[in-house]
């Protein structure tokens, strides 16, 4: 029965992330170039389904119906399932989850999940409007709510309730920028940020400074997902999807029970661990959604890497660095790589695949990883999406 069909990511590639002189469609073409380069055995005719993660092409590129656009840009002709996935900041993971579900259900055998976002447009204010309408537009965003003030309030409450400090936030940013410093596709590749420099950067939404915030980024990527019978056609080091969980509860901020206790993530990660048959201590590394430094700290707590309120100390003590208990964001995170909304989840999956194959730069390679988690939040942390991967081969 199809229930036992296993699904693996067998490769993928990314464009350069950053402020790019390239349109949305050109980024999609580059994602195709990167995919076919990273999986030499892939023939376009073998791809039966296409899932396109794109948060706001209507806003950033004035373009809807982007799934067929991507098919054309990448030279694909999907004949089973073709769709776009929108889940704001988690759109890329949403595309992967749909591909996973389709293959697991027997509706697809070979699927491509793509993520594209073009965020650096000539009008910064219009880009900010696009980001504002991710939130409850008439009742929250109209007052001035965007992501930075939201996560600033989260940080303020975490500081008040648990004694978290700006220095602890900077420790997260320093770690992730250091990994990005060695990652050629990262927006902040070869850019150095020590903690003192981070603490001198301008305030964006107090207490958060520029270095606490991920950037507006242009970028794209694509991964190949296949059913168990096709894995050996493409790779010797598959990344098997072993678990998944997702949770959504509120939208307007009035209906968020706690700013600092992300129970939705606890629920989503418990479901992911349950379905994978492992626990937090079994993970070798995690790609967590560090859209802001405070997010990563609360994620440690909600997933169960450390106790409630101890995320700041956990980061500052180096427990999530190479050589610590669990490496978090060896890719460089959203802070260091930039955050092209739809492409972020794809880039995290590419990182898992490349870490398992020992294909990343030595300074950010996790020693012999077997289990990895990928997490995305979206909006005001009102949706949490979690997947767990195991190295095969």
């Amino acid at each position: 029965m199809s229930e036992n069909r296993q699904v693996a990511v067998v490769g993928g590639g990314l464009t350069k992330f950053g402020v790019r002189a390239a349109t949305w469609a050109e980024l999609a073409q580059e994602a195709g170039e990167a995919l076919f380069r990273s999986v030499p055995a892939l023939e376009a005719s073998a791809v039966d389904s296409l899932f396109v993660g794109a948060a706001e092409p209507e806003r950033f590129a004035f373009q809807s119906h982007v799934a067929p656009l991507v098919a054309e840009q990448m030279g694909l002709a999907p004949h089973r399932i073709v769709q776009r996935n929108e889940l704001a900041c988690a759109s890329g993971q949403s595309a992967i989850r749909s591909a996973y579900a389709a293959i697991r259900a027997g509706l697809s055998d070979v699927a491509v999940a793509v993520g594209v976002e073009k965020m650096n447009i000539p009008s910064l204010a219009e880009a900010n409007s696009a980001m504002a309408c991710v939130l409850d537009r008439p009742w929250d965003a109209a007052h001035g709510l965007t992501a930075p003030p939201f996560f600033a309030m989260v940080a303020q409450r975490h500081m008040l309730e648990h004694g978290t400090t700006e220095e602890q936030l900077a420790a997260v940013s320093e770690k992730n920028h250091r990994f990005a410093n060695a990652n050629p596709v990262a927006q902040f590749y070869e850019k150095k940020f020590d903690r003192e420099k981070l603490l001198r950067l301008p305030l964006i939404a107090p207490p958060l400074r520029l270095g606490d915030c991920s950037s507006m980024t242009d970028g794209a990527g694509a991964v190949l997902l296949v059913t168990q019978d096709r894995v050996r056609d493409y790779t010797d080091t598959p990344a098997w999807i072993r678990g998944s969980g997702q949770y959504a509860d509120f939208h307007n901020l009035a209906n968020m029970e706690s700013l600092t206790d992300w129970t939705g993530l606890t629920r989503a990660s418990r479901e992911a661990f349950r379905s994978a048959g492992i626990g937090p201590k079994d993970l070798d590394f995690a790609e967590l959604h560090d859209c802001f430094t405070i997010s990563e700290l609360i994620e440690y707590e909600a997933i169960g890497f450390c106790a409630k309120g101890e995320g700041g100390k956990y980061a500052a003590d180096g427990r999530t660095d190479i050589g610590g208990e669990i490496v978090v964001n060896p890719r460089g995170g959203l802070l260091g790589c930039g955050h092209p909304l739809g492409a972020t989840g794809i880039a995290q999956a590419v990182e898992v695949s490349q870490q398992f194959a020992h294909q990343v730069e030595a300074s950010r390679q996790v020693p012999d990883p077997e289990w990895a988690m990928v997490h995305n939040l979206s909006g005001s942390a009102n949706v949490h999406s979690v997947m767990i991967y195991q190295r095969g081969g």
């Binding site: 504002a132 008439p138 929250d140 930075p148 309030m153 939404a205 107090p206």
Partner: protein
């Protein structure tokens, strides 16, 4: 002009008159300055639609114009719902009623937007915003905080709901710190 269009036009004229009356500034309404300088293209306008041709929540804005801050409550299970709704998410019936909300509360968390504002708010920085715990109510509402510099803002400060008039005549609200 169709009969329907005539009705719509008559309503629009009535609304314009009402807005003109409202703009003679009742003392409880602060001067306009919060919204964009003029009405933005529809799909860049962050503020709620208020016209009864576009929403079923017009009573919220009409009450606000009269200085009353309201929301909907479910008649069946008594649940206070924010933002105002037309169907209860618990019992899934439309048996909702309008009820008054407290007009005062205390700041639970706040920040200020120093950069990165959307269209219409770029010229209006820094913008102090926060979550307000409404007095005697389970609701914690987000809004703009008026009358305070962000460097002097503190958790726990008392605030009052203040209706504001947008440049195009619509009514919205903010919170003003009580001195």
């Amino acid at each position: 002009m169709t009969a329907m269009a005539e009705v719509t036009e008559r309503k629009a004229q009535k609304n314009r008159k009402r807005r003109a009356a409202a703009s003679t500034a009742p003392p409880s309404t602060s001067p306009p300055a919060t919204g964009p300088p003029e009405r933005l293209p529809y799909l860049l306008d962050l503020y709620p639609v208020e016209s009864s041709t576009q929403t079923r929540l017009t009573p919220f804005f009409e009450a606000l114009q009269r200085g009353r801050f309201t929301t909907t409550r479910c008649r069946k299970d008594g649940k206070l719902l924010w933002p105002p709704r037309v169907v209860c998410p618990i019992c899934h019936t439309a048996e909702l009623e309008w009820v008054d909300l407290p007009s005062t509360g205390r700041i639970y968390a706040f920040s200020a937007i120093l950069a990165g504002a959307p269209v219409g708010q770029e010229g209006d920085l820094p913008r102090v915003v926060g979550l307000v715990e409404m007095d005697g109510s389970p609701l914690r509402l987000f809004g703009r905080l008026l009358g305070i510099d962000w460097r002097e803002c503190r958790i726990g400060l008392p605030v009052r709901v203040e209706p504001i008039t947008l440049p195009d005549g619509r009514t919205f609200y903010a919170f003003r710190v009580i001195r």
